[in-house]
Protein backbone atom coordinates (compact mmCIF):
# COMPACT_ATOMS: atom_id res chain seq x y z
CA UNK A 1 0.00 0.00 0.00
CA UNK A 2 2.71 2.49 1.05
CA UNK A 3 4.83 1.48 -1.95
CA UNK A 4 1.89 2.09 -4.20
CA UNK A 5 1.35 5.58 -2.78
CA UNK A 6 5.04 6.41 -3.14
CA UNK A 7 5.03 5.12 -6.71
CA UNK A 8 1.95 7.19 -7.48
CA UNK A 9 3.65 10.22 -6.01
CA UNK A 10 6.77 9.77 -8.15
CA UNK A 11 4.79 9.04 -11.30
CA UNK A 12 2.76 12.21 -10.69
CA UNK A 13 5.88 14.30 -10.23
CA UNK A 14 7.47 12.88 -13.37
CA UNK A 15 4.28 13.36 -15.40
CA UNK A 16 4.04 16.94 -14.09
CA UNK A 17 7.61 17.64 -15.14
CA UNK A 18 7.10 16.05 -18.55
CA UNK A 19 3.99 18.13 -19.20
CA UNK A 20 5.71 21.27 -17.91
CA UNK A 21 8.68 20.79 -20.23
CA UNK A 22 6.51 19.73 -23.16
CA UNK A 23 4.05 22.61 -22.81
CA UNK A 24 6.86 25.11 -22.30
CA UNK A 25 8.48 23.92 -25.52
CA UNK A 26 5.24 24.08 -27.47
CA UNK A 27 4.29 27.51 -26.15
CA UNK A 28 7.71 28.90 -26.79
CA UNK A 29 8.11 27.52 -30.27
CA UNK A 30 4.68 28.68 -31.35
CA UNK A 31 5.25 31.21 -34.12
CA UNK A 32 4.17 34.70 -33.19
CA UNK A 33 2.32 36.54 -35.87
CA UNK A 34 1.57 40.20 -36.13
CA UNK A 35 -0.18 39.69 -39.43
CA UNK A 36 -1.83 36.32 -39.66
CA UNK A 37 -2.31 36.52 -43.39
CA UNK A 38 1.27 37.34 -44.19
CA UNK A 39 2.42 34.65 -41.78
CA UNK A 40 0.74 32.10 -44.01
CA UNK A 41 2.40 33.29 -47.16
CA UNK A 42 5.68 34.86 -48.01
CA UNK A 43 6.24 38.47 -47.02
CA UNK A 44 6.59 40.29 -50.26
CA UNK A 45 5.97 43.60 -51.94
CA UNK A 46 2.29 44.08 -52.64
CA UNK A 47 0.73 47.19 -54.12
CA UNK A 48 -2.97 47.40 -54.79
CA UNK A 49 -4.17 50.92 -55.54
CA UNK A 50 -7.81 49.92 -55.94
CA UNK A 51 -8.36 48.01 -52.71
CA UNK A 52 -10.25 49.29 -49.66
CA UNK A 53 -8.82 48.69 -46.21
CA UNK A 54 -10.55 47.82 -42.93
CA UNK A 55 -9.38 48.71 -39.43
CA UNK A 56 -11.43 48.63 -36.23
CA UNK A 57 -14.54 48.01 -38.29
CA UNK A 58 -13.99 51.21 -40.27
CA UNK A 59 -13.35 51.38 -43.99
CA UNK A 60 -10.07 53.03 -44.91
CA UNK A 61 -8.86 54.25 -48.27
CA UNK A 62 -5.19 53.36 -48.68
CA UNK A 63 -2.78 55.84 -50.21
CA UNK A 64 -2.05 55.23 -53.84
CA UNK A 65 1.54 54.22 -54.45
CA UNK A 66 3.39 55.03 -57.64
CA UNK A 67 6.86 53.52 -57.58
CA UNK A 68 7.96 55.74 -60.47
CA UNK A 69 7.38 58.83 -58.32
CA UNK A 70 9.66 57.43 -55.63
CA UNK A 71 12.55 57.52 -58.06
CA UNK A 72 11.67 60.79 -59.76
CA UNK A 73 10.80 62.87 -56.71
CA UNK A 74 13.04 62.20 -53.74
CA UNK A 75 12.04 65.59 -52.30
CA UNK A 76 12.61 64.76 -48.65
CA UNK A 77 15.74 65.30 -46.60
CA UNK A 78 17.92 62.25 -46.14
CA UNK A 79 18.48 61.38 -42.51
CA UNK A 80 22.06 61.44 -41.34
CA UNK A 81 23.30 62.93 -44.61
CA UNK A 82 25.52 65.37 -42.75
CA UNK A 83 26.72 62.80 -40.25
CA UNK A 84 29.83 60.69 -40.70
CA UNK A 85 29.10 57.19 -41.90
CA UNK A 86 28.96 54.89 -38.90
CA UNK A 87 26.90 52.16 -37.30
CA UNK A 88 23.15 52.66 -37.37
CA UNK A 89 20.89 51.62 -34.52
CA UNK A 90 17.17 52.07 -33.87
CA UNK A 91 15.74 51.99 -30.36
CA UNK A 92 12.06 51.67 -29.53
CA UNK A 93 11.00 52.85 -26.08
CA UNK A 94 7.74 51.03 -25.36
CA UNK A 95 7.15 53.00 -22.17
CA UNK A 96 7.10 56.38 -23.92
CA UNK A 97 6.11 55.07 -27.37
CA UNK A 98 9.09 56.79 -28.89
CA UNK A 99 11.55 55.74 -31.58
CA UNK A 100 15.16 56.92 -31.64
CA UNK A 101 17.51 56.43 -34.57
CA UNK A 102 21.25 56.80 -34.07
CA UNK A 103 24.02 57.01 -36.57
CA UNK A 104 27.09 56.43 -34.48
CA UNK A 105 26.72 58.76 -31.55
CA UNK A 106 24.39 61.15 -33.31
CA UNK A 107 20.65 60.97 -32.92
CA UNK A 108 19.17 61.47 -36.36
CA UNK A 109 15.51 60.89 -35.54
CA UNK A 110 13.21 60.97 -32.54
CA UNK A 111 9.50 60.50 -33.07
CA UNK A 112 6.36 59.05 -31.54
CA UNK A 113 5.24 55.58 -32.59
CA UNK A 114 2.42 53.15 -31.84
CA UNK A 115 3.40 49.67 -30.72
CA UNK A 116 1.30 46.62 -29.88
CA UNK A 117 -2.11 47.01 -28.29
CA UNK A 118 -3.93 43.93 -29.54
CA UNK A 119 -0.69 41.94 -29.71
CA UNK A 120 2.62 42.40 -27.96
CA UNK A 121 5.57 43.99 -29.68
CA UNK A 122 8.49 41.61 -29.10
CA UNK A 123 11.18 42.98 -26.82
CA UNK A 124 14.76 42.14 -27.80
CA UNK A 125 17.63 42.97 -30.10
CA UNK A 126 17.08 42.40 -33.79
CA UNK A 127 18.24 43.40 -37.24
CA UNK A 128 16.13 44.51 -40.15
CA UNK A 129 15.87 41.37 -42.28
CA UNK A 130 13.96 42.87 -45.19
CA UNK A 131 12.54 46.20 -46.34
CA UNK A 132 9.50 46.48 -48.58
CA UNK A 133 8.17 49.64 -50.17
CA UNK A 134 4.64 48.43 -49.45
CA UNK A 135 2.78 45.29 -48.55
CA UNK A 136 -0.62 44.09 -47.44
CA UNK A 137 -1.19 43.33 -43.77
CA UNK A 138 -4.20 41.47 -42.48
CA UNK A 139 -5.21 39.51 -39.44
CA UNK A 140 -7.04 39.75 -36.15
CA UNK A 141 -10.59 38.56 -35.68
CA UNK A 142 -14.02 39.94 -34.91
CA UNK A 143 -14.04 43.64 -34.12
CA UNK A 144 -10.24 43.68 -34.17
CA UNK A 145 -9.94 42.24 -37.68
CA UNK A 146 -7.92 44.31 -40.08
CA UNK A 147 -7.04 44.15 -43.73
CA UNK A 148 -4.74 46.91 -44.90
CA UNK A 149 -3.40 47.11 -48.45
CA UNK A 150 -0.51 49.36 -49.39
CA UNK A 151 1.05 49.55 -45.93
CA UNK A 152 3.99 51.79 -46.78
CA UNK A 153 7.69 51.60 -45.92
CA UNK A 154 7.81 48.25 -44.16
CA UNK A 155 10.99 47.25 -42.34
CA UNK A 156 10.67 43.77 -40.83
CA UNK A 157 12.98 43.10 -37.92
CA UNK A 158 11.59 39.94 -36.26
CA UNK A 159 9.47 37.41 -38.13
CA UNK A 160 6.55 39.49 -39.44
CA UNK A 161 6.97 42.27 -36.90
CA UNK A 162 8.17 45.44 -38.52
CA UNK A 163 8.38 49.17 -38.51
CA UNK A 164 6.06 50.74 -41.05
CA UNK A 165 3.95 53.75 -41.94
CA UNK A 166 0.31 53.77 -40.81
CA UNK A 167 -2.34 55.61 -42.81
CA UNK A 168 -5.40 54.30 -40.97
CA UNK A 169 -4.93 56.07 -37.65
CA UNK A 170 -3.17 59.08 -36.22
CA UNK A 171 -2.75 58.24 -32.58
CA UNK A 172 1.00 58.00 -32.27
CA UNK A 173 2.42 58.02 -28.79
CA UNK A 174 -0.22 55.42 -27.82
CA UNK A 175 -0.39 51.68 -28.47
CA UNK A 176 -2.46 51.00 -31.58
CA UNK A 177 -1.05 47.96 -33.39
CA UNK A 178 -1.18 44.19 -33.40
CA UNK A 179 2.53 44.02 -32.60
CA UNK A 180 4.23 46.02 -35.30
CA UNK A 181 5.65 49.48 -34.76
CA UNK A 182 3.42 52.04 -36.50
CA UNK A 183 4.89 55.36 -37.56
CA UNK A 184 3.69 58.46 -39.33
CA UNK A 185 4.15 57.94 -43.05
CA UNK A 186 6.67 60.79 -43.33
CA UNK A 187 8.74 59.32 -40.49
CA UNK A 188 8.57 55.80 -41.91
CA UNK A 189 9.61 57.15 -45.31
CA UNK A 190 12.65 58.94 -43.89
CA UNK A 191 13.63 55.93 -41.79
CA UNK A 192 13.14 53.57 -44.73
CA UNK A 193 15.54 55.65 -46.83
CA UNK A 194 18.10 55.72 -44.05
CA UNK A 195 17.93 52.14 -42.85
CA UNK A 196 20.08 49.37 -44.30
CA UNK A 197 18.64 46.04 -45.28
CA UNK A 198 20.79 42.93 -45.08
CA UNK A 199 23.49 42.47 -47.66
CA UNK A 200 25.81 39.59 -48.47
CA UNK A 201 27.78 39.28 -45.24
CA UNK A 202 26.18 42.13 -43.39
CA UNK A 203 23.08 42.20 -41.25
CA UNK A 204 20.48 44.91 -41.61
CA UNK A 205 20.30 47.91 -39.30
CA UNK A 206 20.06 46.96 -35.63
CA UNK A 207 16.68 47.41 -33.92
CA UNK A 208 16.40 47.22 -30.14
CA UNK A 209 12.96 47.12 -28.60
CA UNK A 210 13.22 48.30 -25.00
CA UNK A 211 10.64 48.42 -22.25
CA UNK A 212 12.46 51.52 -21.18
CA UNK A 213 15.15 53.39 -23.07
CA UNK A 214 17.42 55.85 -21.32
CA UNK A 215 20.40 56.13 -23.64
CA UNK A 216 21.97 54.00 -26.38
CA UNK A 217 23.90 52.04 -23.78
CA UNK A 218 20.90 51.63 -21.47
CA UNK A 219 18.03 49.76 -23.08
CA UNK A 220 16.05 47.99 -20.37
CA UNK A 221 14.41 44.80 -21.55
CA UNK A 222 12.04 42.51 -19.64
CA UNK A 223 11.75 38.96 -20.93
CA UNK A 224 13.42 39.57 -24.30
CA UNK A 225 12.56 37.03 -26.98
CA UNK A 226 16.20 36.57 -27.89
Amino acid sequence: MAKKIIATYFISVIVGIVFFVGASFLLKSQPVCANSRTCKSDLSVSIDNNAIGVFQGQKVIPPKIDLALDILKPEFAVLGASVASSEKHIYINLETQTLYAYQGKTQVMKTLISSGKWGRTPVGNFNVWTKLRATRMAGGSGADAYDLPNVPYVMYFYRDFGLHGAYWHNNFGHTMSHGCVNMRIVDARDLYSWIDGPEKDQKGTAVSVCNKFISPNTCMQENPVN
Partner: protein, 222 residues
Protein backbone atom coordinates in the same frame (compact mmCIF):
# COMPACT_ATOMS: atom_id res chain seq x y z
CA UNK B 1 -15.07 -0.85 -5.34
CA UNK B 2 -11.96 -2.83 -4.35
CA UNK B 3 -8.90 -1.24 -2.75
CA UNK B 4 -7.01 -1.90 -5.96
CA UNK B 5 -9.59 -0.07 -8.01
CA UNK B 6 -9.57 2.79 -5.56
CA UNK B 7 -5.76 3.01 -5.75
CA UNK B 8 -5.84 3.00 -9.53
CA UNK B 9 -8.43 5.75 -9.51
CA UNK B 10 -6.33 7.78 -7.10
CA UNK B 11 -3.26 7.16 -9.26
CA UNK B 12 -5.02 8.36 -12.39
CA UNK B 13 -6.35 11.40 -10.54
CA UNK B 14 -2.92 12.27 -9.18
CA UNK B 15 -1.24 11.86 -12.56
CA UNK B 16 -3.93 13.95 -14.28
CA UNK B 17 -3.64 16.63 -11.62
CA UNK B 18 0.14 16.64 -12.04
CA UNK B 19 -0.26 17.03 -15.80
CA UNK B 20 -2.58 20.00 -15.34
CA UNK B 21 -0.22 21.57 -12.83
CA UNK B 22 2.64 21.06 -15.28
CA UNK B 23 0.74 22.76 -18.11
CA UNK B 24 -0.41 25.56 -15.81
CA UNK B 25 3.13 26.22 -14.63
CA UNK B 26 4.38 26.17 -18.20
CA UNK B 27 1.74 28.70 -19.24
CA UNK B 28 2.43 30.85 -16.23
CA UNK B 29 6.13 30.62 -16.92
CA UNK B 30 5.60 31.59 -20.52
CA UNK B 31 3.41 34.61 -19.93
CA UNK B 32 4.29 35.83 -16.47
CA UNK B 33 7.86 34.96 -15.90
CA UNK B 34 9.30 36.64 -12.83
CA UNK B 35 10.39 40.04 -14.03
CA UNK B 36 14.07 40.67 -14.06
CA UNK B 37 15.48 43.46 -16.05
CA UNK B 38 18.16 42.90 -18.62
CA UNK B 39 20.33 45.87 -19.26
CA UNK B 40 22.74 45.27 -22.08
CA UNK B 41 25.56 47.52 -22.90
CA UNK B 42 27.07 48.63 -26.12
CA UNK B 43 29.89 51.14 -26.39
CA UNK B 44 29.09 54.23 -24.34
CA UNK B 45 27.81 57.13 -26.38
CA UNK B 46 27.46 60.79 -25.64
CA UNK B 47 24.33 62.58 -24.53
CA UNK B 48 21.53 62.88 -27.05
CA UNK B 49 22.19 65.18 -29.95
CA UNK B 50 19.01 66.08 -31.70
CA UNK B 51 18.92 66.67 -35.42
CA UNK B 52 16.16 66.19 -37.93
CA UNK B 53 13.91 65.43 -35.02
CA UNK B 54 10.22 65.15 -35.76
CA UNK B 55 8.44 68.04 -34.10
CA UNK B 56 6.56 67.30 -30.92
CA UNK B 57 3.87 69.63 -29.55
CA UNK B 58 5.48 72.86 -28.48
CA UNK B 59 4.42 75.68 -26.23
CA UNK B 60 5.59 79.16 -27.06
CA UNK B 61 7.45 80.66 -24.14
CA UNK B 62 9.64 83.45 -25.54
CA UNK B 63 8.25 87.00 -25.50
CA UNK B 64 8.31 87.44 -29.29
CA UNK B 65 6.13 86.20 -32.14
CA UNK B 66 6.59 82.53 -32.70
CA UNK B 67 5.58 80.08 -35.38
CA UNK B 68 4.90 76.42 -34.70
CA UNK B 69 3.54 73.87 -37.11
CA UNK B 70 2.56 70.25 -37.32
CA UNK B 71 2.66 68.24 -40.50
CA UNK B 72 0.17 65.52 -41.39
CA UNK B 73 1.20 61.87 -41.41
CA UNK B 74 1.58 61.79 -45.19
CA UNK B 75 3.36 65.14 -45.28
CA UNK B 76 0.85 66.84 -47.58
CA UNK B 77 -0.79 69.23 -45.10
CA UNK B 78 0.23 71.25 -42.09
CA UNK B 79 -1.35 73.31 -39.35
CA UNK B 80 0.50 76.52 -38.58
CA UNK B 81 0.15 78.45 -35.31
CA UNK B 82 1.48 82.01 -35.12
CA UNK B 83 1.64 83.41 -31.61
CA UNK B 84 1.72 87.15 -31.02
CA UNK B 85 2.51 88.46 -27.54
CA UNK B 86 0.42 91.54 -26.81
CA UNK B 87 1.26 94.47 -24.54
CA UNK B 88 -1.66 93.77 -22.21
CA UNK B 89 -0.13 90.45 -21.21
CA UNK B 90 -2.32 88.42 -23.54
CA UNK B 91 -1.39 86.22 -26.48
CA UNK B 92 -3.13 85.98 -29.80
CA UNK B 93 -3.00 82.64 -31.57
CA UNK B 94 -3.58 82.62 -35.32
CA UNK B 95 -4.15 79.25 -36.92
CA UNK B 96 -3.85 78.48 -40.60
CA UNK B 97 -3.42 75.44 -42.78
CA UNK B 98 -1.16 74.98 -45.76
CA UNK B 99 0.15 72.22 -47.93
CA UNK B 100 3.22 70.26 -46.92
CA UNK B 101 5.66 72.76 -48.37
CA UNK B 102 3.94 75.70 -46.65
CA UNK B 103 2.23 77.12 -49.74
CA UNK B 104 -1.49 77.79 -50.22
CA UNK B 105 -1.82 79.03 -46.67
CA UNK B 106 -5.39 79.54 -45.52
CA UNK B 107 -6.32 81.42 -42.35
CA UNK B 108 -8.64 79.36 -40.17
CA UNK B 109 -9.06 80.74 -36.70
CA UNK B 110 -7.78 83.29 -34.20
CA UNK B 111 -8.06 83.45 -30.42
CA UNK B 112 -6.63 85.72 -27.73
CA UNK B 113 -5.98 84.27 -24.29
CA UNK B 114 -4.67 85.68 -21.05
CA UNK B 115 -1.28 84.57 -19.83
CA UNK B 116 -2.68 81.74 -17.69
CA UNK B 117 -3.65 79.79 -20.81
CA UNK B 118 -1.87 78.61 -23.89
CA UNK B 119 -2.67 76.84 -27.15
CA UNK B 120 -0.80 73.99 -28.80
CA UNK B 121 -0.99 71.87 -31.91
CA UNK B 122 -0.97 68.20 -30.84
CA UNK B 123 1.32 65.74 -32.60
CA UNK B 124 -1.77 63.83 -33.79
CA UNK B 125 -3.65 66.94 -34.91
CA UNK B 126 -4.60 65.73 -38.41
CA UNK B 127 -7.19 63.10 -39.18
CA UNK B 128 -5.61 60.29 -41.24
CA UNK B 129 -7.28 61.54 -44.43
CA UNK B 130 -6.34 65.19 -43.69
CA UNK B 131 -9.98 66.32 -43.74
CA UNK B 132 -10.07 67.44 -40.11
CA UNK B 133 -7.69 68.65 -37.44
CA UNK B 134 -7.93 69.71 -33.84
CA UNK B 135 -5.98 72.11 -31.64
CA UNK B 136 -5.75 72.28 -27.90
CA UNK B 137 -6.25 75.03 -25.36
CA UNK B 138 -4.86 74.40 -21.95
CA UNK B 139 -4.12 75.99 -18.65
CA UNK B 140 -0.36 76.46 -18.55
CA UNK B 141 1.35 73.24 -17.48
CA UNK B 142 -2.06 71.75 -16.90
CA UNK B 143 -4.58 69.57 -18.61
CA UNK B 144 -6.54 70.42 -21.73
CA UNK B 145 -9.31 72.93 -21.11
CA UNK B 146 -10.53 72.92 -24.67
CA UNK B 147 -10.16 70.89 -27.84
CA UNK B 148 -11.35 72.63 -30.98
CA UNK B 149 -12.03 70.54 -34.08
CA UNK B 150 -11.97 72.09 -37.55
CA UNK B 151 -12.34 71.11 -41.14
CA UNK B 152 -9.08 71.29 -43.06
CA UNK B 153 -9.90 74.51 -44.91
CA UNK B 154 -11.99 76.05 -42.16
CA UNK B 155 -15.30 75.36 -43.89
CA UNK B 156 -18.28 75.36 -41.54
CA UNK B 157 -19.73 72.11 -40.24
CA UNK B 158 -23.30 71.25 -41.24
CA UNK B 159 -24.55 73.11 -38.15
CA UNK B 160 -23.01 76.29 -39.53
CA UNK B 161 -20.26 76.62 -36.94
CA UNK B 162 -16.64 76.93 -38.02
CA UNK B 163 -15.44 74.66 -35.25
CA UNK B 164 -16.80 72.82 -32.27
CA UNK B 165 -15.38 72.27 -28.82
CA UNK B 166 -14.84 68.58 -28.18
CA UNK B 167 -14.64 69.04 -24.40
CA UNK B 168 -17.96 70.94 -24.23
CA UNK B 169 -19.66 68.35 -26.39
CA UNK B 170 -18.31 65.57 -24.21
CA UNK B 171 -19.45 67.25 -21.00
CA UNK B 172 -22.98 67.55 -22.37
CA UNK B 173 -23.02 63.89 -23.31
CA UNK B 174 -21.24 62.30 -20.35
CA UNK B 175 -22.06 63.16 -16.76
CA UNK B 176 -20.15 60.45 -14.91
CA UNK B 177 -16.62 60.37 -16.32
CA UNK B 178 -14.56 63.50 -16.76
CA UNK B 179 -12.80 64.47 -19.97
CA UNK B 180 -9.07 63.86 -19.61
CA UNK B 181 -7.48 64.13 -23.06
CA UNK B 182 -8.01 63.73 -26.77
CA UNK B 183 -5.09 61.59 -27.86
CA UNK B 184 -5.58 61.47 -31.63
CA UNK B 185 -7.57 59.77 -34.36
CA UNK B 186 -8.65 56.12 -34.34
CA UNK B 187 -9.74 56.43 -37.95
CA UNK B 188 -10.57 59.09 -40.52
CA UNK B 189 -13.44 60.54 -38.46
CA UNK B 190 -12.98 59.24 -34.90
CA UNK B 191 -11.26 61.27 -32.19
CA UNK B 192 -10.11 59.18 -29.23
CA UNK B 193 -11.08 60.61 -25.84
CA UNK B 194 -9.71 59.37 -22.55
CA UNK B 195 -11.47 60.05 -19.28
CA UNK B 196 -11.02 60.04 -15.55
CA UNK B 197 -13.53 58.17 -13.41
CA UNK B 198 -15.14 59.89 -10.40
CA UNK B 199 -12.69 58.10 -8.08
CA UNK B 200 -9.81 59.61 -10.10
CA UNK B 201 -8.94 56.23 -11.62
CA UNK B 202 -8.62 55.93 -15.38
CA UNK B 203 -12.07 55.94 -16.91
CA UNK B 204 -13.24 54.35 -20.15
CA UNK B 205 -12.20 55.65 -23.53
CA UNK B 206 -14.61 57.07 -26.07
CA UNK B 207 -14.79 57.79 -29.76
CA UNK B 208 -16.19 61.06 -31.02
CA UNK B 209 -17.43 60.71 -34.57
CA UNK B 210 -16.75 64.17 -36.01
CA UNK B 211 -19.32 64.42 -38.86
CA UNK B 212 -22.24 63.28 -36.69
CA UNK B 213 -20.77 64.39 -33.32
CA UNK B 214 -21.85 61.05 -31.87
CA UNK B 215 -19.97 59.87 -28.80
CA UNK B 216 -19.38 56.16 -28.39
CA UNK B 217 -18.09 54.54 -25.21
CA UNK B 218 -15.49 51.83 -25.83
CA UNK B 219 -14.65 48.62 -24.05
CA UNK B 220 -11.01 49.12 -25.00
CA UNK B 221 -8.93 51.67 -23.13
CA UNK B 222 -6.61 53.81 -25.19
Amino acid sequence: MTIRHQLELETISAVTLAAFIGIFLAMYNNNHRPKFITVYSIPVMQEEQVSAVSPLPTTPALPKPQIASQISSDGTKQVIMKTTYNKNNTQTYNFSTADGLGTNEQTIFSKTLDSTKTMTIPFNTWSPDNKYFFVQEQIKEGSASGIMAFKALGEPFNTGEKYFDVTDLFKKHESVNNFSEATGWASETLIIINTTAPNNAKGPSYWLEVPSKAIIQLSTEF
